[in-house]
């Protein structure tokens, strides 16, 4: 079944205490080439049926109204997962990574 991926990040201008804590750990590990870490969220929404414009519009609305809070976060991307978009041809099924497990 198709999956739509929504990515949400804390607003750039806000302090991200989680990212800051990880960045601090990197410093303590001697990983000095990394100056900052920011941590966001990835939602994988499985759809019953094909991904139509209507479905994408509904997910976009959910992304803005529920998956994120526009006061503190930004929706940075909404994409259809590439590995499940086209149905594999029967004679190619062995060689492609997409399987029935999807």
């Amino acid at each position: 079944m198709p999956t739509i991926v929504v990515e949400v990040m804390p607003k750039a201008e806000l302090l991200d205490p989680q990212g800051k804590a990880v960045a601090g750990a990197l410093t303590r590990l001697g990983k000095t080439r990394f100056s900052a870490v920011r941590i966001g969220k990835r939602f994988e929404v499985t759809v019953d049926g094909p991904v139509t414009d209507e479905v994408l519009a509904e997910v976009t609305e959910l992304a803005n109204d529920m998956f994120s809070n526009s006061v503190i976060e930004d929706v940075v991307s909404i994409t259809v997962a590439p590995d499940v978009a086209p149905a594999p041809q029967p004679d190619l099924a062995v060689s492609v990574e997409t399987t029935d497990a999807n």
């Binding site: 804390p10 806000l14 205490p17 809070n69 006061v71 503190i72």
Partner: protein
């Protein structure tokens, strides 16, 4: 006078809020998140806790509860609504109050008796305080940093919608030491510290007079009763 306290999955302080309502002299009414029924209450408390395990964002999933449709209608028509801690987070998620609450600046959960200044005594939940009163009530949260864009902060400060400010210590990095705010009308108030835990001698914060004798939180609930009587 009937004051409803809504229990959500993961609410912790609903019983304490009911007790506070009773100690203030009103009748507490238990309300359930999954119903579309406010049972005819005169005011509503959204209690503290960890609704839905703080999944998604604190208070976010609870703000989509069935009963929140009725809470939003009642709040918009002027009913006194108090959001404490997780309840404050729900009020911001439901857009009944502006701004948002993010993880504490230092990343850790903080539990302490917190000194506050009451900045606005013209709300449904603060009208029995003296202007500028300094009070102490417990604070306990992991995500209590109040933030909003500069325009919203300017409006909150300019219109007197900052209801409470942290004194001595800003425990979570809140902008302008903001501990709690109200809507423009003053019927909706949200704050991170917990007034319901400072309503009975023997169970409140320490005071200069005696251990655990602090009852500064009781005035939130007597204020609501006063607001309802004089309405």
């Amino acid at each position: 006078m009937r004051i409803g306290v809504i229990t959500f999955p993961g609410s912790l302080d609903d019983r304490d809020a009911q007790r506070a309502v009773r100690l203030a002299g009103a009748e507490p009414v238990a309300l359930w998140h999954g119903e579309h029924d406010l049972r005819g209450v005169d005011a509503i408390v959204l209690p503290g806790g960890f609704s839905y395990g703080d999944y998604l964002r604190c208070g976010a999933i609870a703000s989509f509860s069935p009963i929140m449709a009725e809470v939003i209608d009642a709040a918009n028509s002027g009913m006194p609504v108090l959001g404490i801690c997780n309840g404050f987070q729900m009020l911001t998620e439901a857009h009944l109050l502006p701004g948002g609450l993010i993880r504490n600046e230092l990343g850790s959960f903080i539990c302490r008796d917190q000194k506050l200044r009451v900045e606005n005594v013209n709300t449904a939940w603060t009208n029995q305080f003296e202007a500028g009163a300094e009070i102490t009530i417990p604070l306990k949260n992991g995500e209590g940093g109040f933030i909003a864009d500069a325009e919203t902060i300017a409006r909150l400060e300019g219109e007197g919608q900052v209801a409470f400010r942290y004194l001595e210590v800003n425990p979570n990095g809140s902008i302008n030491d903001i501990a709690g705010i109200s809507n423009a009308r003053g019927n909706i108030v949200g704050l991170m510290p917990h007034p319901e835990h400072a309503t009975e001698e023997g169970f409140g914060p320490d005071t200069a007079a005696a251990m655990r004798s602090g009852v500064d939180g009781l005035t939130f609930f007597t204020s609501a009763i006063h607001a309802l009587i004089s309405a």
